[in-house]
Amino acid sequence: MKIGFYPGCSLKGSSREYNESVIAIAKALDIELIEIKDWNCCGATAAHSMNEELSLSLPARILALAEAQGLKEVVVPCAACYNRLMVTQHELKDDTKREKVTDIIQMPYSGELKIINVLQMLESYAMDKIQEKVTKPFAHKVACYYGCLLVRPHKILQFDRVEDPQSMDSMIKLIGGTPVDWAFKTECCGAGFSVSRTDLVVRLSGNILQDAADRNAEAVIVACPMCQSNLDMRRGAINETLSKPIDIPVLFITQAIGLSLGISPKELGLERHFVTVKM
C-alpha cells in the first residue's frame, strides 16, 4: 500500500516527533509514504489573514506538485495543513479562481487529488492491521482533543461530527484505551497566537487541560502539531495561571498507536515532549 505524504513544516521542525511517529506506524502497518518532492509551506494562518490569493496559491503549488508526481491520494498529518489544502481544493472549484491561481503558480492543476488526514488514512487502510498487531494495549484513560481545523468547516472537510467527533475516540478504543467524555474536544487552543499572543493561548489551552484533568484523563491525544505545542510546550506558562499544576502529557494519536504496536518510545519521539510521558 503506497500513499502520497505531505509532512508540512511543523513536522520537520518543532513537531518532528509527529513525523517520526507517523513514519514509524506507517512502516509497522505496511504503508509506504511517498513524500511530495520539493513541497513548500501551506501558508497557514499567516497567508489567509494577509492575502487571499497567496493563501490559495501556496497550497495550490503543493497540490500541483503532487499531481505532477502522479499521486492520487495524499495523507496530511498536520491538521492545519490538511485544512488549508482541503479549503484550497474547494475554493479552486471556482473556474475564475482556478485560472488565476494556476497562472500565479505556473503549473497545471486538476483538483482531483484526494486529500486525507492521518485518521482517515488509518480508518481506510489499517484498522484490521492495527487490531491484529496490538501487542501492548494502550490501557489508559485519555481525552481525545480534535481542535478546530480537523473538523471545521464541516461543509468542506466532511470529516466526522462537527460537535463531539468520534474517530479518534474509536481509534483509542481499538488500541485498548478508554476515551473520556469531556467538553473541550473542539474548543480552540489559541492556534497561531502561540508567539504573538501567548497570554491568550495560555488561557484557552489552560481551559482545555483543566477540563481534561477534571475528568481524570491520563493524557490528551491530538492530531495537530499546533494543538500539541500549545498544550505541551506552553505548559510552564499555563501552569503558572492554574491553581494546581497539570502534568498530564499530550500525545499524538500516532504515538499512542505506536506504543500499542510495541514501537519504542524513542522511535516515536516521546522524549522530545516538554511534559514527560510515562506511558
Binding site: R161, V162, E163, D164, D181, A183, D211, D214
Partner: protein, 666 residues
Amino acid sequence: MSKIGVFICHCGENISATVDCERVAQELAKVEGVECAIDYKYMCSDPGQTIIKDAIREHHLDGVVVGACSPRMHEPTFRRACAEAGLNPYLCEIANLREHCSWVHEKGDATTNKAIDLVKMLVEKVKRNKPLESIKVPITKKALVIGGGIAGIQASLDIANAGHQVILVEKDPSIGGHMSQLSETFPTLDCSQCILTPRMVEVAQHPNITLYTYAELESLEGFIGNFTAKIRLKAKSVDYKKCTGCGACMQKCPQKKIPSEFNAGLGTRTAIYVPFPQAVPNKPVIDREHCNYYKRGKCKLCETACPTGAIEWDKEDEILTEQVGAIVVTTGFNVKGTDFFPEYGYGKYKDVITGLQFERLASASGPTFGEIRRPSDGTIPKKIVFIACAGSRDPAKGIPYCSKICCMYTAKHAMLYQHKVHDGESTVFYMDIRAGGKNYEEFVRRAIEEDHVNYVRGRVARVYEKDGKLIVKGVDTLLSGEQVEIEADMVVLATAGVANCGAEVLAQKMHISYDPYHFFAEAHPKLKPVETNTAGIFLAGACQAPKDIPETVGMASGAAVKVAGLFSNNELVREPLIAVVNRMPPPVFSTCVGCFMCQTACPYNAIEREEIKGRDGKVIKTVAKVNPGLCQGCGTCVAFCRSKSIDIQGYSNEQVFAEVMSLLNQ
C-alpha cells in the same frame, strides 16, 4: 362564421395602469370573427356583467372572451353571466390580463401588445369551443377522518352532529393525540386532559361515529363523493368483545421497561398496554415487537391472567373496505428529539429534554406525577434553562420556518416550573417572542413580571455536562453580546415542530400534495386553507403546519363544515373538462389502437377498456374509455397517446394549436 364578443376589464387600475385597455378592445374589434369588443372599468360588477349579457342577446354571440384577472377568480362569474343570457357557459373563456400581464410588466406598448396577443389567442380558441354539459355524480354521505388527535376528534364530532356517518381512524391504540400528553394549556392554564377527555368519550359514544383505533389507511381510490378506502386494522391481539379492560394482563406482563410513547420516553410501559389511564378505548393491545411470546415463543402470562380469555395470539391484520364521500386528514405533527442537536450533546445528556417531555414531567398523569424532577437522578432542578428556537429558524441544521407554538409553550413551561418549584430559577433564551394571539402577549408578560422568569435575548452556542451540572453557554445580545454562562440542572429545548413520520407516504396514497417539509399543502394559502388540491380531501390541524389548539380546533370545524356542505347535495356537479377517446363512424369506430399506454400513464385509474362489438356480437376492437367520474382532466393520457385519439374537452389539441398559431401568424 363565428360571432365572438370580447370584453376587456380595467380591474380598477390593476390592469389599466400598465395596459392600454381601450387599445386592446380596438385591436380586437379588427380580428376576424369578433363581433364586438368593449372595455369597462369593472367587468365583474353587476353593470359589467349586464354589458356582456346584453351583447350576447343583441349580437347573437356564439362565443365570449373576457380579458380580466385569473380565471381562478372570476371564471365562474362570467360563465354564469353567459349562461343567464342563454349561451353555453363553456363557450366563455378568460384571458388572464392581470396576473399574466399587467402585474408582471412595466407600463408600455409591449405590455399592451402582449395583452392583445393573450386575448387574440383565446378568440382563436373559443372559435373551436364546443358546448359542454357539466357532469353529475352521486355522493356517498359518509366521511373518513384520518387521525384521532384533537383535530380529528373535533372534525368527527362536528360532521357526526350534522347528521352524517363518520369513520375515525387512529394509528395508535387510543385517540387523544398530542393534546392528551399536555399538562396545562396556554393562555388559560386549564388542564389539557380535563377539557379533552369529555370529547374523547363523546367520540366513543356517538351513534354516527365508527372508531377504528390501531388502524391505518392502506389505500385510497376514487374521487370526491365516491372514494373507496381500504383500512388496515392492525392486529391488537386482544378481542375487544371479550375484554373488559380490567388490566390484569398488564400487571402480569414481564416486559416492564419499554419506553412509553405517551410519556415521550420518560416513563415505561408493558408489552400489553393501554397507553394512558383515560385512553379511549380503554382496552389494551399487545406490542408484538416487545412481547416475549412473539419474540421468543414463550410467556403467555397475560393469557393466564385474563379472566375472559380475550387474548388472540393468532390474530392477523384485517383489511376493511369502506365507501366514503369525503376525507378529513388530521394526522398531526411531531417534535424533533434531543439526539438531533449536535451542540446540545446529540441526546447524550439525560437532563436535556424536549418541550414535550417537559409536558409529561409537569403533568399529573406523568412519570413524576406532576413534580418537576430530573430524568437522570430524580432530583428537583433548582436552575432550569429553556432554549427557544431549538431547531426552528435554523436552515443549516434544523428547519427554516418558525414552529409558532414554542414561544407560548416555553412561557407556559417556565411559568409551571415557577409555580411548582418556588425557589427555582428559570431562564429562557429567545430570539423573538412571537405571541400573536388572543391573550398571548399578556400571558408571556405574566411569566416575566409575575413569575419572574428571566428572559435573555440570545441563542445558546452549546450545552455540556460537568460535575452533574449542565453548563449552558449563551449570550445576551441586548448587552452588546455579553456572554452568559449558566450552570443549570435541567435544559428544556423548544424543539421544532415537524411533519409526522410517514406523512409523505400517506400523501402519496391519497394523491394530495405536500410542501418541502412534508406538511400537507392546502389548496390556497388564504382562501382555501382547509381544502387540498384533490377535491373531497380536507385538512385540519398540525398536519398542515405547526399550530396551537385553538387554531387546530377552528380548522377542524372549518373542514367539517366543508364536508357537511358537500353532503348537503345529493349529486355533485363537476366540470366537464375531462379526457374523451374519439369515436368514428364504421368501419374505423375509433382511431384508438388499444395500446393502453394511457392506462399506464393515468394517475387516477380513470382509463377503462371497452369492447366495440359488431351486430353479430363479435368483438371488433378493444379501445380505451375514460371514466368521467374518475378523470381529473390532467391531460397526461393525451400526451401519451400515440394515435392522437384522446383529447381533453375544452382543451383539445385543435384548440391549443389554434392558440399557438394565432401567435405565429402575426
